[in-house]
């Protein structure tokens, strides 16, 4: 019973950590290299425990992130919903990909996410971002294997589902 509760707290904790790391600033030079943490963590949970992650959860997390970020309410909700939907749709395949293929898939998902963001921003009247803006998905994809293995390892150590 307490293991159950621990695993729930672990789940919530990683998501809260993702939101917090989204807000933590990096020095100016490193700024474009910052990965989109909520997407990565949500992807991990979507692949690992399907019954916890749903579109509703993605929407809620996105709304929370929007509230914190203060750009436009619903922007990240839209992006995370699309991301989680694709991940859940192809979950069975993604799970059994070798790591490098999975990484490529994550890259595609993150690029798609950036594209959605770009569309939303341009429709809202913002100007086109600089080229360095496109680095972030690649960094996210590069981090993916490590993040995945780390979270899996921690989960195995804590013996939680």
């Amino acid at each position: 019973m307490s293991r159950q509760r621990l695993s729930t707290w672990w789940f919530i904790g990683t998501l809260a950590f993702a939101l917090l790391s989204m807000l933590v600033p990096l020095p100016g030079v490193l700024e474009p290299f910052k990965p989109y943490w909520p997407a990565l963590i949500l992807l991990y949970w979507a692949l690992e425990s399907e019954d916890r992650v749903s579109l509703g959860l993605a929407f809620a997390i996105g709304l929370g992130a929007d509230l914190l970020n203060g750009v436009v309410l619903g922007e990240q909700a839209l992006r995370l919903c699309a991301l989680v939907f694709i991940a859940l749709r192809f979950r069975s395949r993604l799970r059994f990909f070798p790591m490098w293929q999975q990484t490529l898939a994550v890259l595609a998902l993150l690029l798609n996410d950036r594209l959605l963001l770009l569309i939303v921003r341009v429709l809202a009247g913002a100007s086109l971002p600089p080229a360095s803006w496109w680095i972030s998905p690649f960094v996210g994809a590069l981090l993916w294997p490590f993040l995945f293995l780390l979270l899996d390892d921690l989960r195995a150590r804590l013996r939680i589902q």
Binding site: P25, G70, V71, C81, S92, A126
Partner: protein, 331 residues
């Protein structure tokens, strides 16, 4: 290994319910975005949610504070000594300048009193600290540790030691968000210090420069010219440094010159900023002209003509215009 549910659902499942739910959520998100974009009530929601949001900001700002503290703690002695020395020299220089300025300011004050204008050289400012939080909008914003409870209002100009940084965009109870002058959606009325030419400086897309897109071709502008706030528009008080022109080129249409300017303020590096408290005097159109001339009680009344004794007789029809003419000349 595989759970029972996995077997029941085929490997490449496409369930209509999922798609429907996706469409529902996407539509909901879009409706929210449009409503928020139109009405801007995200900030009202955020003001309400500030109880949760602000501690998160403080928490997210902790790493930046930690790095700053560590850099001070582990900075070597020599660097600190050097820095201290430099600051001492700066202070000495600034004090010397201030002493000279004091007399001038005094004189200026008296002259201005004589002229009966309300402009003042004194600054009414509030020191605020930057919270290191990444707001994600391509870095055109700053978060400050002061909010509505400290008397911060929307639209207040924010400066640092070197120049104008931006203006307060949104206010939460104990934090506020500053829109930087380099935001592409920001425009600040400026004048060129050397020639007095007035124009507008916009933020640029690259995020760390200012663009002046509509300088007349014949205008006297050079690379290296300093930009000051012109005070037009009433948002920023006049006379604060804004930037320095770095490059100048004709616009693609050939109708104007386009200049790029480097902001004077340390947009990236400031840790402490000043919030200007007295908002600029509204430098709008001049007040309507007061009726000038002699006081109204001197005006000729049709019944009495005091300058000319009424003893004379004859030609009474000519009298009133002649008397009013003399009155007009007298004062």
């Amino acid at each position: 290994m595989a759970r029972a549910r996995d077997e029941s659902s085929p490997l490449f499942a496409g369930n209509a319910a999922g798609t429907l739910r996706l469409i529902f959520y996407l539509a909901l998100a879009m409706v929210l975005m449009v409503l928020d974009h139109r009405n801007g009530w995200l900030w009202r929601v955020r003001y309400g949610a500030a109880v949760v949001v602000e501690p998160v900001y403080r928490l997210a700002g902790l790493p930046a504070v930690g790095v700053r503290t560590l850099s001070v703690a582990f900075a070597d002695r020599q660097r600190l000594t050097e820095q201290n020395q430099r600051l001492r020299e700066d202070l000495l220089l600034a004090n010397a300048k201030l002493n000279r300025m004091a007399a001038v300011a005094e004189q200026n004050q008296r002259l201005k009193e004589l002229l009966d204008t309300q402009h003042s050289l004194e600054l009414n400012v509030q020191l605020a600290r930057v919270i290191g939080v990444d707001m994600g909008a391509y870095r055109y914003q700053l978060t400050l540790n002061m909010g509505a409870r400290d008397g911060v209002k929307q639209g207040q100009p924010v400066i640092d030691a070197h120049g104008v940084m931006g203006q307060v965009k949104e206010v939460l109870p104990t934090t506020s968000v500053v829109m930087l002058v380099t935001d592409p959606a920001h425009a600040i009325p400026v004048e060129i210090e050397r020639s007095g030419l007035r124009t507008v400086a916009y933020g640029s897309r690259d995020g760390d420069q200012l663009t002046l897109p509509n300088i007349p071709l014949a205008a006297d502008v050079r690379v290296g010219d300093h930009l000051l706030t012109s005070g037009l528009g009433g948002r920023f008080p006049p006379g604060f440094p804004v930037g320095e022109i770095r490059s100048l080129a004709p616009s693609p249409t050939g109708m104007f010159m386009v200049a790029q300017a480097q902001p004077a303020a340390d947009i990236d590096r400031s840790e402490d900023v000043l919030l200007l408290h007295d908002q600029a005097e509204p430098d709008g159109p001049p007040e309507p002209v007061k009726s000038m001339g002699p006081p109204s009680d001197l005006a000729p009344t049709p019944s009495a003509t005091p300058t000319v004794p009424p003893a004379q007789t004859g030609a009474p029809a000519v009298k009133p215009p002649a008397s009013s003419a003399t009155q007009g000349v007298q004062p």
